[in-house]
């Protein structure tokens, strides 16, 4: 403090005056306001803590309750109502993975195609393009069980008439998550700066050549993230599958077109969870842990992709 000397008396006076002025304004904040401010901040923190505690309790409960059943038999053994000690989720896991494969095959071309059309080709002033856009936003929020009704009325029976097979479940799930892919892909495509397109077009490339060779490669990380998000949603969906034939205890490995029935991981969990006996509750909890591990692996992949290939313009 010794070292600092205001150059003149006048400056010191001005600084003191300014300080007093500020103190008068800020210091006059009523005590009540200050207390209210702190209480408010505390309440906000409490709310966030409640949300985080809910998540923590959910995870902890699944791990603790499922602990006795955790082991490799979860992925190697079929489910059983008799020998619950060695029961597992093998057919359900295979069913889920098969469905996911079909879902990816369906949603990547369809979702990216729709996103390219809406971002690169569609004229936004035309009513039909706006209708498509509004429609996709709406589809993203249609309840999943309604998609189950669509699957039951249109895919299992009705026009497509596939019967209660795994492929019907996969198509239903693909339609359900398609809006997620379209919305994410559109954002990724929109993030590619226009100068890239203009440069390519100026060199004589056609619109499709520009899209195919410049825009799409640049948008791939965003698109991939969207696809993984969509797939992780598809893995956890239960309700629509109940309507399109994923049945209770499938003890054999399912096939895509097999008419003997199929199962999926969340459906199997649900079937265990509805049985009140302790051993089935344990199996349900263990299944949840298994499902969350699968999801965690996929989401880590998504984050890795995003970080590895993300481009800053």
């Amino acid at each position: 403090m010794e070292a600092y000397r205001p150059p003149t008396e006048r400056t010191r006076f001005a600084v003191a005056g300014a300080r007093a002025n500020v103190a008068a304004v800020l210091g006059s904040q009523p005590r009540g306001d200050v207390i209210r401010n702190n209480v408010f901040a505390g309440l906000l923190g409490l709310a966030v803590l409640i949300a985080l505690a809910g998540l923590a309790a959910l995870l902890a409960q699944a791990v603790v309750e499922g602990a006795p059943a955790l082991g490799t038999n979860l992925i190697t053994e079929p489910p059983s109502t008799i020998d619950t000690a060695n029961a597992g989720f093998r057919p359900a896991l295979i069913g889920s993975l098969m469905m996911i494969a079909f879902v990816i095959v369906l949603i990547v071309p369809l979702g990216v195609g729709a996103a390219i059309y809406l971002e690169e080709y569609a004229d936004n002033t035309r009513w039909w393009n706006r209708l498509i856009e509004l429609n996709i936003q709406n589809l993203a929020a249609v309840p999943s069980i309604i998609y189950g009704i669509l699957g039951l009325g249109f895919i299992v029976r009705g026009p497509l008439d596939l019967g209660f097979i795994l492929l019907a479940g996969a198509i239903t799930l693909a339609l359900l998550v398609l809006p997620v892919v379209i919305i994410a892909s559109r954002e990724a495509i929109r993030a590619v700066p226009p100068s890239i397109r203009e440069g390519s077009l100026a060199l004589g490339a056609t619109r499709w050549q520009t899209t195919r060779r410049q825009v799409l490669p640049a948008a791939i990380p965003g698109v991939a993230t969207g696809v993984i998000l969509a797939v992780s949603r598809a893995i956890g969906e239960t309700a629509p599958l109940l309507l399109v034939g994923a049945t209770v205890f499938v003890t054999f490995d399912p096939t895509p077109l097999g008419a003997n029935g199929y199962s999926a991981l969340p459906v199997q969990i649900f079937q265990y969870a509805t049985r009140p006996q302790e051993e089935f509750q344990t199996m349900a909890a263990a299944g949840i842990v298994l499902m969350l591990v699968v999801l965690l692996a996929m989401n880590s992949g998504a984050i890795w992709l995003r970080n590895r290939y993300e481009q800053k313009w």
């Binding site: 906000l44 709310a47 699944a62 996709i136 589809l139 069980i145 009704i149 669509l150 056609t206 992780s232």
Partner: protein
């Protein structure tokens, strides 16, 4: 097409920049891409057709008057189709879910947008995203095996008839609330972050505390986005199936009592359509009629929410 026609101005003097051919391949590709986009409209149409067809069949057997009354027992003999029972069930769980999710979600949004340091944000936002990604069957199991015993322990005695039932609406409501919190938090935070800094700084310059800035300046300015997030949350809650199936019971019940066992529209559909019901029977068709009611309810919510989000985007972006 615009890009090629711009250069074609002067005839003869300048080189022609127009494409040498009609580029049919380009057009075919554009057509294919448009087809992908049109698939979404086809999906919506297919949903409407698959709902409306059996619903019309349903109303040939059941009068509108009976449908919009209470007492929903489609599998009894004789069956009764008073849809208000399961509509009340859906409203019941949605109500308790939103009572939990709105304060928590909005508080989290205000915290993240106004209070949290960038470092804290970087931790909390991904955690909320994880919560948003938890499959609902897991939340339903959690509600049934963790929330129910806790509520039964802390419920004050015989209040509202006492929490005696093995499954009840409040448990499902709390599970749904947990599911909705990240939706409300993230959309509301987006809306609050879109409020221009100048508005906040103006308020601070007038000597307002942080709480006042958050509540009286940022909150009202972001209101349309906040309402949109709540409406979208309601839409999700109305359509949630697994949590309700696992935690709320399966008794059609015209009540908003949180500790009663109820049946929601979604849980009726999920439990009835999986059984071996004959295609074309009134019971089978009642699934689609209930689905139509649900679809109309959520559609209305979605349209409101989309419109509100568009409004706040227009104002500040």
């Amino acid at each position: 097409m615009e890009a090629t026609s711009i250069g074609a101005g002067g005839p003869g003097r300048r080189p022609r920049l127009e494409a040498p051919s009609r580029r049919w391949g380009e057009r075919a590709i554009q057509g294919l891409l448009a087809l992908c986009a049109v698939l979404s409209v086809v999906t919506t149409t297919a949903i409407v057709i698959s709902l409306v067809g059996p619903t019309i069949g349903f109303f040939q057997d059941v009068s509108l008057g009976e449908f919009f009354s209470t007492e929903w027992f489609p599998t009894f003999e004789p069956p009764q189709f008073g849809v208000l029972d399961i509509v009340a069930g859906t409203v019941n769980v949605t109500l308790w879910g939103m009572l939990f999710a709105i304060p928590i979600g909005l508080a989290a949004a205000i915290y993240l947008s106004e209070y949290a340091s960038p470092r804290v944000r970087k931790v909390i936002k991904p955690i909320l995203e994880i919560l948003a990604g938890i499959p609902t069957v897991a939340i339903g199991f959690f509600a049934a095996s963790f929330v129910i015993p806790i509520v039964q322990d802390v419920w004050p005695g015989g209040f509202l008839g006492g929490a005696e039932k093995p499954f009840f609406a409040l448990a499902a409501g709390l599970g749904i609330g947990l599911m909705i919190v990240p939706i409300i938090a993230s959309i509301s935070e987006d809306a609050m972050s879109a409020v221009p800094r100048g508005l906040r700084e103006g308020a601070y310059a007038m000597g307002a505390t942080k709480a006042k800035v958050a509540l009286r300046v940022v909150f009202p300015a972001a209101l349309s986005g906040i309402v949109a997030s709540i409406v979208l949350g309601v839409s999700r809650a109305l359509g949630e199936t697994m949590i309700v199936v696992l935690a709320a019971g399966s008794t059609p019940n015209f009540t908003l009592n949180p500790v009663e066992s109820i049946q929601a529209i979604t849980s009726f559909i999920a439990t009835t359509a999986t059984g071996d019901i004959a295609q074309g029977s009134v019971t089978y068709e009642s699934v689609f009629a209930a689905g139509t009611v649900l679809f109309v309810m959520t559609l209305a919510m979605n349209m409101i929410s989309i419109r509100l989000v568009r409004r706040y985007r227009e104002v500040y972006e």
